[in-house]
């Protein structure tokens, strides 16, 4: 359990946050730049001192202005991966990795992955004898991640760790972050302003705006809420829901996923039947019809019911459809809305192209432990 209530004045900017959420999986902190995300994680790490408030993780009080508690960063056991890596230029990669590990050998240090395990997990085998300045941006971030992991933290903070990388490099790093989440069972607070990253990685979403926490909760619930749309974004707008793998069609290279609304066919996923995962469907990839189309290229057709009509955005409008227990956003033109007479309660057919659901659309949910020993902290 992560509990934060803190106030801090930074010049003209006032941060006033209150947050309580379970510490399992990845907690995504999402907001525009300047919304106070980094200030908040700095307060968690002990690098920024709140004017007032209380911060606690699993009953360990890190800061309490009334009780006069303010643990220095080195005693908080919170790992921090910075946006710019911050590797020590005077040390080799190996000694960078060991910097925190050596200092974490205290009495209260928990168990965690060993040096060799971290090196294997992050694919650092060929880098250990190099100098940080000889590494690429993506390699630097992997080393920074390993360095933080080796301190055996009770919580890992990642402040836009991919923001300084180009898209191909991001694709290099994301699988490693997923492995952390899936194999280490380490709670992570992940700061980002890219919804695509968050959907892929996070379980819990915390929306922050102008120094305040607007809402926090399950990512599926928050992304389907209309009132949060200005924060969760327009272009990337979409809905997120949980599915499980039913079976694979080897002939056509498709995978059938089931959810309460039916079966969703997508290009083949390398996952075993029964695996649970999260899928994100962008509103602009969803079409609506009043009757099920005859022969068409749409592999996915669901019966649904209009629940809500979103705010008008020029010629476009977002429509929220209930399909089983899931909620799906569809972005249609005003003309379609008029001609289909879309209004709350209207029965519609929801059409989704299988090709619109690609590898960026998934976030994995199942978790298994690769390294025993973290149970005590979980």
């Amino acid at each position: 359990m992560l509990e934060v209530s803190a106030q801090k004045r930074l010049g003209a900017f006032a941060l006033d946050v209150a947050l309580a959420c379970e510490t399992n999986g990845i907690i995504a902190l999402f907001g525009r730049s300047g919304s106070g995300k980094t200030s908040l994680v700095n307060m968690l790490a002990g690098l920024l001192r709140p004017d007032r408030g209380r911060i606690a993780i699993d009953d360990v009080v890190l800061f309490d202005s009334e009780a006069g508690i303010d643990l220095p960063p080195e005693r908080r056991r919170i790992g921090y991966v910075f946006q710019e890596g911050r590797l020590f230029p005077h040390l080799s990669v190996r000694r960078n990795l060991l910097y925190g590990a050596k200092r974490a050998r205290g009495a209260d240090a928990g168990n965690g992955p060993s040096f060799d395990q971290v090196v294997a997990l992050l694919g650092l085998e060929s880098l250990t004898e190099r100098r940080p300045q000889d590494l690429s941006g993506g390699e630097k971030q992997r080393v920074a991640l390993g360095r933080a992991l080796l301190t055996r933290p009770r919580l890992l903070l990642m402040d836009e760790p991919l923001a300084s990388l180009d898209q191909p490099r991001k694709e290099d790093i994301l699988p490693f972050v997923e492995r952390l989440r899936d194999e280490l069972d380490l709670p992570i607070v992940y700061v980002s302003h890219a919804m695509q990253e968050i959907v892929r990685l996070a379980d819990t979403l915390v929306l922050i705006s102008d120094g305040r926490i607007v809402e926090s909760g399950a990512i599926e619930a928050l992304t389907s809420r209309l009132d949060l749309r200005p924060l969760t974004g327009r272009y990337e707008a979409g809905s997120v829901f949980e599915v499980s793998v039913e079976d694979h069609d080897d002939k056509d290279g498709l995978t059938a996923l089931t959810f309460s609304g039916g079966r969703l066919y997508v290009p083949r996923l390398e996952l075993a039947a029964g695996a649970r995962l999260r899928v994100r469907i962008r509103a602009r990839d969803v079409a609506l019809a009043l009757e099920a189309p005859g022969r068409s290229s749409f592999l996915n057709v669901f019966a649904g019911e209009v629940r809500e009509i979103g705010a008008e955005d020029g010629p476009l409008v977002d429509v929220l459809i209930a399909v089983g227990e899931a909620s799906l956003w569809a972005r249609v033109t005003q003309r379609s809305r008029r001609e289909l007479e879309l209004a709350p309660g209207r029965a519609v057919q929801v059409l989704i192209k299988a090709v619109a659901v690609d590898s960026h659309s998934f976030g994995r949910r199942t978790r298994h432990r690769a390294f025993p020993g973290n149970e005590a902290e979980a």
Binding site: L47, E74, E84, P89, G100, P132, Q133
Partner: protein
């Protein structure tokens, strides 16, 4: 090759310069750290005092040292009483004069390098479990090593060449305070000393060059270490 007088003056100069640097380095680090990293009342005053020897006539510095550290001076009596050490008219006095004159150069160079250290690296070290002292030792100090080296070399060179404050404070006692520049000056003032003066001048140039060369090599090695 070298005359006994030359060997004596050279050895004394090296001893005085070395003692001056070794003695002032810890203070130099402390003052540089205070000026670079701390905000306190009197910071401007401290900065001024540290830089005073740079802008004052060396004779004035020597005279003030004499007033303070002579056997009747307040600090002189204190040192005499506490440790039984006499500063005035000894080689230790020469080292003190050299240290005071070279101090601003050393502090300046260390302070500049300390100000250029990326504080975010220190914050990262703290999140990795380093206490402030540990962080200074394991991150700050290695990163400012080139600046410290430059400061030490500058201070060493300045100490080797120290003349005005030294001759005022500790005079020119053969074997005790007659360093290379002072011996050279003495020779220029005595008839028939021209050749000796020239030889001492050449020795000075050679020593200065050696120091510069050594610093260059060391700086390159350190620079490679931190990727500068």
């Amino acid at each position: 090759m070298l005359t006994p007088l030359e060997i004596e003056a050279l050895a004394l100069s090296l001893k005085v310069a070395l003692a001056s640097v070794v003695f002032s380095l810890p203070f130099g680090l402390l003052v540089a750290w205070l000026l670079a990293r701390r905000d306190f009342a009197g910071k401007t005053l401290l900065n001024g005092i540290v830089h005073l020897p740079l802008v004052m006539p060396p004779v004035v510095v020597g005279y003030l040292l004499l007033v303070l550290f002579s056997q009747d001076g307040p600090l002189g009596r204190l040192l005499e009483g506490l440790f039984g050490v006499t500063i005035a008219f000894t080689w230790q006095g020469a080292a003190l004069a050299a240290a005071v004159m070279a101090f601003p150069l050393m502090v300046r160079s260390i302070r500049l390098s300390m100000e250029s250290v990326d504080r975010r690296l220190e914050a990262a070290a703290r999140t990795l479990g380093a206490t402030p002292a540990d962080c200074f030792r394991s991150v700050t100090l290695p990163l400012i090593a080139p600046g410290i080296l430059v400061g030490v070399i500058l201070a060493f060179a300045r100490s080797l060449g120290e003349f005005g404050a030294t001759i005022t404070f500790v005079s020119a006692i053969p074997g005790e305070t007659r360093t290379l520049p002072i011996a050279l000056y003495g020779l220029t003032q005595s008839p028939g000393g021209e050749l000796g003066a020239l030889r001492l001048a050449i020795i000075s140039v050679v020593v200065a060059f050696a120091a510069l060369f050594a610093s260059e090599v060391l700086a390159r090695r350190l620079g490679r270490g931190i990727g500068a």
